[in-house]
Structure formats: structure tokens, C-alpha cells
């Protein structure tokens, strides 16, 4: 799990580095088209989103690109028309399973007088064999159990994956939670069918810390916290106040002089990813953390899409503090969309994924104990 050596540097030397949000003047360019075309081999709605770029510090929704004509054609000449549904969404409702493995698909977008094209090949899928929750320490672990899934990379090179995870029904959508890998995660090796390696198997475990720097649980069985007055004395190392529909972590100066910048302060009740419920029996209020669940989708993607996602993560999940020493400067993401007018910029990506999925709840059966009793 501790895969990132820079993390250690950051923690140990973290006491010297310092960050502050600053106002910076940046240049602005005229908006241009953004094609967000990630489809999945499945029945039902297939959605392509067309928007435009906006100034970097414009913190509003991306402007929709309206009145476009969006079509996908495949090698056999079949054509699928995507219908505009407002807000930049263009939808094709597929009555059968959309997509054939190994088939090439061509995307064509007509917008604002230009034609934008792209193509992709639908990759083969890989099945998730199993999913367990690991218990590595005999005494009660302070962050719960960590998840591990098993699957096998098929023979041959060119297999790439995007693992999407839902914790207690909540899609894990932070930049650090873009889990991608290809051919056992080592680019350009001979990819000879071995099980996914350990760091990949344990990808869907992202720690979150509260404002006191205490780890919130990864995955665990049911836990109960007695509420005295309106307070929980020890909520994973911090004191917490139960408010209307949320839990507020109290900052403790003894643990950390200043609250952790990106630490969690508010945890909503009855909401994922922290699955808490406030119960009241016989006048005794108790906060129950229900057993966690994890649902995984393993999307086979094209090698170009893998590179795109890896770059997307690099650009959005920036190392903070001391880690900035190791950061690469920002640069444009690759795109597989082309405009017929070479001078007209366009960004975005077209890809059709082939997914398998598996979900499991933490229970006595799904916990694997990795130590001798």
C-alpha cells in the first residue's frame, strides 16, 4: 500500500515546506471544443459530452457545446446517431450490447462549421476473480482492512485498464483515485500473463485523513460510537460533535498545531463514502458505522486511453508541499480527436471500454487474516 516513496519524504520533511493559495494572473485563450467520449460495451444509454474550454480560474460549470451532429460508425458500416439532450449531452440508446471486441469505431462531430474525427478499437475484457479485505495486524488496526482484488493479465501486450471503485455506493472521484495500469503496470514489457502485481491488486485503497491527521477507516465491519451529550470522545482518534445531518471533527491542537489543509472536517450522516447512521434507542444516541462495501469495475481500455488517463492523473493529482520538488511541470494532455482545420485546437478523448465488475461487503467471510493467531 505504501507505494509512494515521495509520500514518506513529504511526511518527514513536511514540517518545513509550506503552501498557500495565491492569486496569479494567467493568460486566457479563446474557447475551443472539448470532446468527452467515453463509452462502454453495454446496453442502454451511451453518452458523449461536448463542452468548451473556459478560463482557468472560472469556477463555474463547463459551457455546453450545442447544436452539434454526433455520429459513430463501425467497420461494418453501421452508423449510430447521438441525439442532443441539452447541457452538452448527446445520447444514443442502444437496444443491444453496443460494441464488438476488436472492431474499430469512428467518431464524427460536426460543430461550429468544423468536422472533428477520431477512432478507437474496442479491447478484450478481463474478469475480476475475487475481492477480499485484508487484516494484517493482530491488534485492532487503526485504519480498518485494506481491499485487494485478483485478476490475471492475459498473454500478449497492449492490455490496459481503468479500475473504477465505488465505496458504499459513492464513486471515488478524486484525482488520486484514478486507478490505471497497463500490462502489469510496467509500460512496454512483454506482458506475459501473470496475476496483477501487489500494488495493482491493492489500488482501491485511498486513505483520507481528518483535520487532525488521523486516518479515517478504509473498510471495516460495523462499529458503534456512543454519543455523550452531542459528542463522540474517540472517533478514530479525534473528538467529534454530532450535528443535524453531519459529524464535525474537532480540531485538537495537541495532535496538530494547525488543521490539516486537505483534512476532512465534516462527515455527512447517512451518506457515502463514510457510511454513518445516528440511531437513538432508549434515549441513548449512538452513531453506527455500517459495514463498508466496495464495488469495482475493471474497464479494459486502449493503450492510448491508458496514456491519456495516466497523464490526466499526473495533471490533476499534483504533489503538494515538499513533493513539488518531484513534480513535472504542467503540460497539455494528449488527445485522439482531430479537427479537419489543423489550426483549430481541440481536446478530449474517444474510447470504448470493455468492463467486468464485482462488489462485496466487509463481513467475516470476506476478511482474509494475514497473521498467525
Amino acid at each position: 500500500m505504501k507505494r509512494n516513496s515521495i509520500l514518506l519524504l513529504t511526511t518527514i520533511l513536511g514540517f518545513v515546506a509550506c503552501e498557500s493559495i495565491v492569486d496569479v494572473k494567467v493568460n486566457e485563450t479563446d474557447p475551443y471544443l472539448v470532446v468527452d467520449a467515453w463509452l462502454t460495451r453495454a446496453t442502454g444509454d451511451q453518452t458523449i459530452r461536448l463542452t468548451t474550454t473556459q478560463p482557468y480560474f472560472d469556477n463555474s460549470f463547463a459551457p455546453a457545446a450545442n447544436d452539434a451532429t454526433v455520429t459513430i460508425t463501425d467497420g461494418s458500416g453501421s452508423s449510430y446517431a447521438f441525439v442532443e439532450q441539452g447541457n452538452g449531452n448527446y445520447v444514443y440508446n442502444s437496444p443491444d450490447t453496443f460494441g464488438t471486441v476488436g472492431e474499430t469505431y469512428h467518431l464524427e462531430v460536426l460543430w461550429a462549421g468544423n468536422t472533428y474525427t477520431s477512432s478507437t478499437i474496442l479491447p478484450r475484457k478481463v474478469t475480476i476473480d475475487s475481492l477480499v479485505f485484508n487484516d494484517d495486524e493482530p491488534d485492532e488496526s487503526d485504519f480498518g482492512y485494506y481491499a485487494e482484488f485478483f485478476a490475471r493479465d492475459p498473454d500478449g501486450i497492449g492490455d490496459a485498464f481503468w479500475l473504477k471503485a465505488w465505496k458504499n455506493g459513492k464513486y471515488l472521484n478524486q484525482p488520486s483515485e484514478i486507478y490505471t495500469f497497463d500490462d502489469v503496470s510496467f509500460s512496454n514489457d512483454d506482458g506475459g500473463g501473470i496475476p496483477f502485481i501487489f500494488p495493482i491488486r491493492t489500488l482501491p485503497n485511498s486513505f483520507e485523513q481528518d483535520i487532525n491527521g488521523n486516518n479515517l477507516p478504509l473498510y471495516g465491519l460495523e462499529e458503534r460510537f456512543t454519543v455523550i451529550g452531542d459528542q463522540i470522545v474517540d472517533f478514530y482518534g479525534s473528538k467529534a460533535i454530532v450535528e443535524d445531518n453531519q459529524l464535525r471533527i474537532i480540531h485538537d491542537e495537541r495532535q496538530r498545531p494547525k488543521p490539516l489543509d486537505d483534512g476532512i472536517e465534516i462527515i455527512p450522516l447517512d451518506s457515502a463514502p463514510y457510511y454513518l447512521e445516528n440511531t437513538n434507542t432508549n434515549g441513548q444516541s449512538t452513531v453506527v458505522k455500517k459495514p463498508d462495501s466496495l464495488y469495482l469495475e475493471l474497464h479494459a481500455i486502449s493503450p492510448d486511453a491508458f496514456f491519456f488517463l495516466a497523464r490526466l492523473q499526473q495533471e490533476t493529482d499534483r504533489p503538494s508541499g515538499f513533493g513539488a520538488l518531484f513534480a513535472t511541470p504542467p503540460s497539455d494532455l494528449p488527445t485522439n480527436i482531430k479537427c479537419d482545420e489543423p489550426d483549430v485546437p481541440v481536446v478530449g478523448f474517444f474510447n470504448i471500454t470493455n468492463k467486468t465488475s464485482l462488489g462485496r461487503k466487509v463481513s467475516e467471510e470476506s476478511i482474509r487474516i494475514n497473521y498467525d493467531l
Binding site: D23, E315, T316, R318, P330
Partner: protein, 813 residues
């Protein structure tokens, strides 16, 4: 490897070695004809005075000591081994032996035949403080042909206020004009707009591939073992080659050959200990110096990771021994071993370090021909290991190893002429990745193939005085052979923003020459003495660099990759022209200089956006090649003596790149481009017990790359990026202070104190300045919620936000 390659060098050497004086003379004549320079050749009427100049206290040879024949008002200076040679007509002479901060010795010498005079100078009673120093040695600034060079002796380095009170060679030279770094914590240093990988860093002749400990907070040189540091920023003599920006020549102490001494220090972050002494009195001596950091021990109570077995430390060990066999032969053996360790549980983590070993033999063929033969090995490696058991792990080692053979000769023709020549052969082995991964017990080997290369060169250089003019022409001829073994790739043309396509992959035989490059590297330096206190100087050099340090991170760091010139990567070529005016004032109490420089560099490497630099067999396909230019002005005023001394340095500079495929092929600033750089260092001696030191620097902001738009894709906000390095962080400025308390010779109870003791108190970043290191852009830190747009923000990173106090205790017995 191919034997033929060594032949070129070996034959060059043996010719000189075996042939008689007569043939040697012919060689010189040939050279002189080529150079079109005439000077009086050695004749029967001339006699040579030669020898070594040493420190009387510890027997260390003195580098750059002056030997002046007063009757002729001419002389020579000692070389890096402390040797001098003067050839003059016979006669009775008064000869002065001088060195800054030492008492001058004057000898009456009746020169009737070749004579060997070894001299030991004593340090002035108040070393480097209020001593009246000889005029001649101190006007070297004006009188020597050398320009664009900076020398610092260890005593000056020790006075500069240092981070956490730890004296540091590289941090000290960053206070000099033309030298800078990207920011606190960045590895290495930049010289006149050159990159970190363009500096040749030599420790007793051995190249050091990474000069930093703890990322960039400390340098690898243990000040207890360092004798002399010299930085060549321009006008680089023909004897140096292989990097296009600068040469940092660090010479280690030889060890006291009179008596045993123990010195050391206990500091905030590490402790040091050095032992030196005679093995055979006046003939052989040694020095062993070590350091180890203990921040990991100190911070253990405050840091959970450290309590759980994490390790974070560095150490280094420097050792040297020398033996004077007889008047004509002396051998030196020196070695360095340093390592940084970052482990998060005792097994997993990463480590890196340098190892070097140097064997040298100084031999005097006769009183005028000095030679030095060096054999050395240098190895830099880093390794990462993840995985707690043999069932699941990932291991990765990377190395660069070089073996070098280097014969060098100095021929002291007469007081007006000195000839240097020599050769150099370096065999490199690059191990980009020796790696394996194990998954549920199944193992895969993900290593990349080793690369080998041979770099050979030969050089000849002359220093000739003609009246007020001194000229120093030279030429170095270098050859680089990229040797077979790994697969040979060829690539198609550059497509902007894309990886170059592989056109063919071919096997190669071990040792076969895949690609060979030759470069002639002419050097020229001129000095014209306007009057006794001022001179003008000019220099030109062309340099070739066959190794490339590849980095795509914001700052240079220990995992940067050294890669050779190949059939796809061309050698870097650097041209530099520099002009300067040098003037000393008030009997050399003040020295001042102004220099301008212009540089043009070819085949500068950059990389495509999102380049994958590690585990990439097709790395060469992701590299781009372009042109670099840098130009600037340097001002330097230094006060040499008195109670208050120090210097002011100012650099106005630009450093830019133009790479096909980046930023519409326009010029863009390098990451280390800094327009203004002002530094001020002052030392004040209150009384024999207390000395105050301060340094202040103000530096223009370095560039960062900024976005010019944003867009949403798959629920994330991606940046649309402007041209590279278009933004600037605000100005950096910082004041550091230190006070040194030297214990008096007498204890409070009246008894004499044994040894020398001092305490150093430092304040780094005195006024709590948060100097910007970089600015980066990111989407909001908190989890994006459905139905709410995602915020984007700019974040400024400062490595230090507070004053960093430091205290250290130093002793010497």
C-alpha cells in the same frame, strides 16, 4: 571493450614517456608552428629552480603559492600539487615565496646548476585576519590570465552562515556571481544559465555524478577533508572536458604529515569527525573524515513513521593517503563513499550514493617536466525497493560507473612559457534499470539493457607571456564511441507533441562501435595588463559533452537519469565567449571585476509532454533536441582584509532554449533563468573571540508553467497549458546570520586550553521569508460533489516558512 580505443591514448602517452628530450622538443616545435607563436626554446644558458611549497604546520602542499624572482620581477605559481618550476639564466637571485595569509619567505639563491628548493611557509600570526599580505599574491585577480574562475579556500567557506550551521561547499559557491540554483532543496547548482548536468564536478579528479545529500540541502563534500575549491565558469583550460557549462574542481587535503590531529563538530543535523596524521613523518600521511546525519534520531519522538522503523539519514566517508617515495615521485590514494537512505519501514524505500576511488602518481621527469598519472573509478547508483516479502516485491537499481585513465604533463619552459598536455580515456557503463517484480511468487524481469561507451581525448595547452600580453591557447580533441550490446533503435522524424516512431530495432555485438563522434575543442584565453592594478581579459571555449542528465521534474533530484550519447542522441556542444575588466584598489585591499559572457549551446535535450523517462526502452524517441543560449553580466567587488571583509556580487543573466516541437518553436526561458541575482556576504571580526557573518541574497523569480484554460473530462478538470515557463514566481530574498565564538587559549582557571574550540550559532532565513519555490495549479482538494462545479486554484510552495536556527560545536586537537 575494444582494445584499439585504448591504443590512441596509450600510444600518445608512451611516446612522451619513452622518447628523449630531443624528440620532446620536436613535439613542442610542431605545436608552436601550428600555433604560430614563437618563444625562446630551452637553451644551455638557462637553469631551472623547482620544488614544492608547503604549509609548515601540517605539511599540506599549497596550491597557487607564488614564487617570484625579484631581480627579474617574474616568477610562477605552484600547481594543484604544490609544485613550481622556474627556468632562468644562472646568477645570484633573491626569491620570494608567498601565499595569501602566510608569511613570505625570501631566499638568496645562487643558481649555478639546476636546483631543487622545497619551502615551508608558516601561517601569519593572525591567519587571514589582519595580516599584511604580500602584494603579488593578492593581485592574482588582475595578473593571472585566468578569468571567469572563482576560488574559495575552506577558511572562507567556513565563515559563511550555513543552513543549520553546517559548512557547505556548494551552498557557498552559490553566493558567487554567475552561480545559482532553482531553489532551496533542489539538487546541484547552475552556472551562467547552464543546467545541473552540465557541470563537471571533480573530487580529487574523480567525477561526482550527484553532488547533493538530502535532496539538495547539503553537498557531498565533507568540509573537514576539503583543501581547495575552484570553479571555472568560462575560459576553461584544455585539460578539462566533458561538460559544457562549468568545472568545479575540489581538492582534498593530504593529511598532516607532522603530527596527529583530530577535528570534528557536533551540529544540529549531523556530526563530523576527521583524523589525520603522519604515517611516516614528512614522507607519508593520511586523512580519514566521516559524517553522519541524525535528524532521524532527533525527530523520532515527534514522528510516527520514524518510530515505526522508517529511516532517513545520510553519511559519507572521505579518506586519503599519500607517500613521497623520493624527490621525484609521490603517490596518492583517495576515496569517497557517501549514501543517502530513505526507508519507510527498514526494508522498503530508496537509497542513493556516490563512490569514487583515485590513484595518482606525481612524477618529475626532470626539473621542468612534471607529470601526474591518474587511475580512477566513480560509481553513482540509486535503488528502490518495495514489498515486504519475497512473494510480492519490486526492486530497481540504476547505476553509472566510469573507469578513467588520465596522464597529464606540465612542461615549465621558462618564466614566460608553460606547456600542458595529456590524455584521458573513460570507459562508461550505464545501468538504466536492473529491476524485477514479483507477484504472488511469480517473477518477471523488467530490466533494461546496460549501455557502454568509451570517451577518449587528448589535449595540449600553452601559457605564454609576451610583455604585457599573456595568451593561453589550447586544443582538446575528443572522441566518443557508443558501444554495442543493447539493441540499436532508429527513429523517424519529430512530430510535434508526439513520441518519435521506431523505424528499426537491430541487435548489436558487445564492443562493436555503433556510433562514433569526434570533436575539436579549441580554447583561448588572453590577458592584457593595462597597468599594475588593472587588466582586460578575454576567452573563448568550445566544449563537447557526451553524457546527458535527463530530468523532467520541477527541480533536479537524485533519481535523474544519466544517459550516454548514442546513435540518436547527439553530443552537446557549448561555445562561450567572455570579456572582462579587472581592477584592484588600495594596494589590493579591494578587488573588482566586471565580466560579460555569451553562450551558444547545440543539441540541448528536452522531452515531449508527458515523457516516460524510466523503464523506457524507447526513451530516445521521447527526447527532443534544440538550441540553447545564455548571456549575462557579472559584477564582483571583494574586500580582502581588515576587520570587515566580504563581497558583493551581482549577475544579470538570461538562459533560454529553442526546441522544435515545444511552444511554437519560439525561445522560452529555462527553469533556472533568473534575470537578477544580487548577493552580499560580510564578515566582521569583533575581537579574537567573536566573529559575525552575514549573507543576503535577492534573486528574480524563476519561471513556472501555467495554464491558460481549463476543461472537464470524465468528472475531472484538466489544464489547457500555455507555453513552457511563461509565468514567474515572485522575487526571493533571504538574510542569514551567524556568530562564531572561538574559545580563548586560556581556560577560566588560568590553565592553557588544549586544542582549538568554537561554537557557531546560525539563523537561516532570519526574517521568516516564505520564498516561493514554485507555483502549481490543481483542482480542489476536497472530493467533488455532484451538482457542484469543481474549483481550480493556484498554490505557491515555499520550502521554508520560518527562520531555521542552528548551533554547532567544532573542535580540533
Amino acid at each position: 571493450m575494444k582494445l584499439q580505443n585504448f591504443f590512441v591514448v596509450a600510444s600518445f602517452f608512451t611516446k612522451i614517456n619513452l622518447n628523449s628530450n630531443q624528440t620532446l622538443k620536436n613535439h613542442f616545435l610542431t605545436f608552436l608552428l601550428i600555433g604560430g607563436i614563437s618563444f625562446a626554446a630551452k637553451s644551455q644558458e638557462k637553469i631551472t629552480l623547482s620544488g614544492y611549497v608547503k604549509d609548515a604546520e601540517n605539511g599540506e602542499t599549497l596550491i597557487g603559492a607564488t614564487v617570484v624572482v625579484n631581480e627579474l620581477n617574474s616568477g610562477n605559481i605552484t600547481n594543484v600539487y604544490g609544485f613550481y618550476s622556474i627556468t632562468i639564466p644562472p646568477g645570484l637571485y633573491e626569491v620570494d615565496f608567498r601565499y595569501v595569509g602566510y608569511e613570505t619567505i625570501t631566499k638568496q639563491i645562487d643558481l649555478t646548476e639546476n636546483q631543487r628548493v622545497d619551502v615551508e611557509l608558516s601561517a601569519g600570526s593572525q591567519q587571514l585576519q589582519e595580516v599584511v599580505v604580500s602584494a603579488r599574491a593578492q593581485d592574482a585577480n588582475v595578473s593571472e590570465v585566468e578569468m571567469s574562475t572563482q576560488e574559495m579556500d575552506i577558511k572562507t567557506i567556513e565563515k559563511i552562515p550555513a543552513f543549520l550551521g553546517e559548512v557547505d561547499v556548494i551552498k557557498s559557491i552559490q553566493l558567487l556571481p554567475g552561480v545559482s540554483s532553482v531553489g532551496e532543496g533542489a539538487s546541484g547548482f547552475n552556472v551562467r544559465g547552464g543546467s545541473v548536468g552540465q557541470n563537471l564536478i571533480l573530487l580529487d579528479e574523480a567525477p561526482v555524478y550527484n553532488s547533493s545529500h538530502l535532496l539538495g540541502f547539503f553537498s557531498v563534500f565533507n568540509p573537514d577533508a576539503v583543501k581547495d575549491v575552484k570553479l571555472y565558469k568560462g575560459g576553461i583550460p584544455a585539460k578539462y572536458g566533458g561538460r559544457i557549462s562549468s568545472v568545479l574542481d575540489v581538492r582534498m587535503k593530504e593529511g598532516n604529515n607532522k603530527r596527529y590531529t583530530v577535528s570534528g563538530g557536533i551540529g544540529t543535523i549531523f556530526s563530523r569527525l576527521a583524523v589525520e596524521g603522519p604515517l611516516i613523518k614528512d614522507k607519508a600521511s593520511f586523512i580519514v573524515a566521516g559524517r553522519r546525519s541524525y535528524a532521524d534520531v532527533l525527530f523520532k519522538p515527534f514522528n510516527e513513521e520514524l518510530r515505526n522503523g522508517a529511516q532517513l539519514y545520510f553519511y559519507d566517508l572521505t579518506a586519503k593517503a599519500n607517500y613521497t617515495i623520493n624527490d621525484k615521485n609521490r603517490v596518492f590514494l583517495s576515496g569517497y563513499l557517501g549514501r543517502d537512505v530513505f526507508l519507510f519501514d527498514g526494508v522498503q524505500g530508496f537509497t542513493w550514493g556516490n563512490k569514487t576511488g583515485t590513484l595518482r602518481w606525481n612524477h618529475l621527469f626532470n626539473d621542468q617536466l612534471f607529470s601526474n598519472l591518474t587511475l580512477l573509478v566513480s560509481d553513482y547508483d540509486y535503488s528502490l525497493k518495495f514489498g515486504e516479502d519475497e512473494e510480492d516485491l519490486f526492486e530497481w537499481n540504476s547505476n553509472i560507473i566510469s573507469y578513467q585513465f588520465k596522464p597529464e604533463f606540465s612542461y615549465f619552459i621558462n618564466t614566460n612559457s608553460e606547456l600542458t598536455f595529456g590524455a584521458d580515456a573513460i570507459l562508461y557503463r550505464f545501468v538504466p534499470a536492473e529491476a524485477r517484480g514479483v507477484s504472488v511468487g511469480e517473477e518477471i524481469n523488467i530490466s533494461l539493457e546496460d549501455q557502454r561507451a568509451l570517451e577518449s581525448s587528448a589535449y595540449i595547452g600553452l601559457e605564454q607571456k609576451i610583455g604585457n600580453l599573456t595568451i593561453q591557447p589550447g586544443i582538446r580533441v575528443s572522441n566518443f564511441n557508443y558501444l554495442g550490446g543493447p539493441n540499436v533503435y532508429t527513429y523517424g522524424d519529430t512530430i510535434p507533441g508526439r513520441k518519435k516512431p521506431v523505424e528499426s530495432i537491430q541487435d548489436s555485438d558487445r564492443g562493436e562501435i555503433i556510433e562514433s563522434y569526434y570533436n575539436a575543442e579549441p580554447r583561448l584565453a588572453l590577458k592584457y595588463q593595462l597597468d599594475p592594478v588593472s587588466s582586460v581579459k578575454a576567452s573563448y571555449n568550445r566544449m563537447a559533452q557526451y553524457l546527458h542528465l535527463i530530468s523532467n521534474t520541477t527541480a533536479s533530484n537524485p533519481l535523474d537519469l544519466w544517459t550516454p550519447t548514442t546513435n540518436n542522441i547527439k553530443p552537446q556542444i557549448g561555445h562561450q565567449i567572455a570579456l572582462g575588466y579587472f581592477r584592484n584598489f588600495q594596494n589590493n585591499a579591494y578587488e573588482a571585476s566586471i565580466e560579460i559572457y555569451g553562450k551558444h549551446n547545440e543539441n540541448q535535450l528536452d522531452y515531449i509532454d508527458g515523457a516516460q523517462l524510466f523503464f523506457n526502452e524507447e526513451l530516445e524517441g521521447e527526447l527532443l533536441s534544440g538550441t540553447g543560449r545564455a548571456y549575462g553580466l557579472e559584477l564582483y567587488v571583494k574586500k580582502n582584509n581588515g576587520k570587515l571583509n566580504g563581497w558583493i556580487s551581482y549577475t544579470l543573466g538570461r538562459s533560454e532554449l529553442n526546441v522544435e516541437g515545444i511552444g511554437n518553436d519560439d525561445w522560452y526561458p529555462t527553469r533556472f533563468d533568473q534575470l537578477h541575482n544580487l548577493t552580499f556576504a560580510a564578515f566582521y571580526e569583533f575581537n579574537p573571540s567573536w566573529t559575525l557573518s552575514s549573507n543576503f541574497s535577492a534573486i528574480s523569480g524563476t519561471p513556472f508553467t501555467s495554464p491558460n484554460g481549463r476543461y472537464e473530462i470524465q468528472g475531472y478538470v484538466a489544464p489547457a497549458v500555455d507555453t513552457r515557463n511563461a509565468g514567474r514566481v515572485p522575487v526571493s530574498h533571504r538574510l542569514d546570520l551567524s556568530a562564531t565564538w572561538t574559545f580563548s587559549d586560556v581556560k577560566p582557571n588560568g590553565k592553557p586550553r588544549r586544542g582549538e574550540h568554537s561554537m557557531v550559532f546560525t539563523l537561516y532565513n532570519t526574517y521568516f521569508r516564505k520564498n516561493p519555490f514554485t507555483i502549481y495549479f490543481r483542482q480542489q482538494q476536497s472530493r467533488p460533489e455532484e451538482g457542484e462545479p469543481i474549483r481550480t486554484e493556484a498554490v505557491q510552495v515555499s520550502i521554508f516558512a520560518f527562520v531555521i536556527p542552528g548551533i554547532s560545536y567544532n573542535f580540533k586537537f
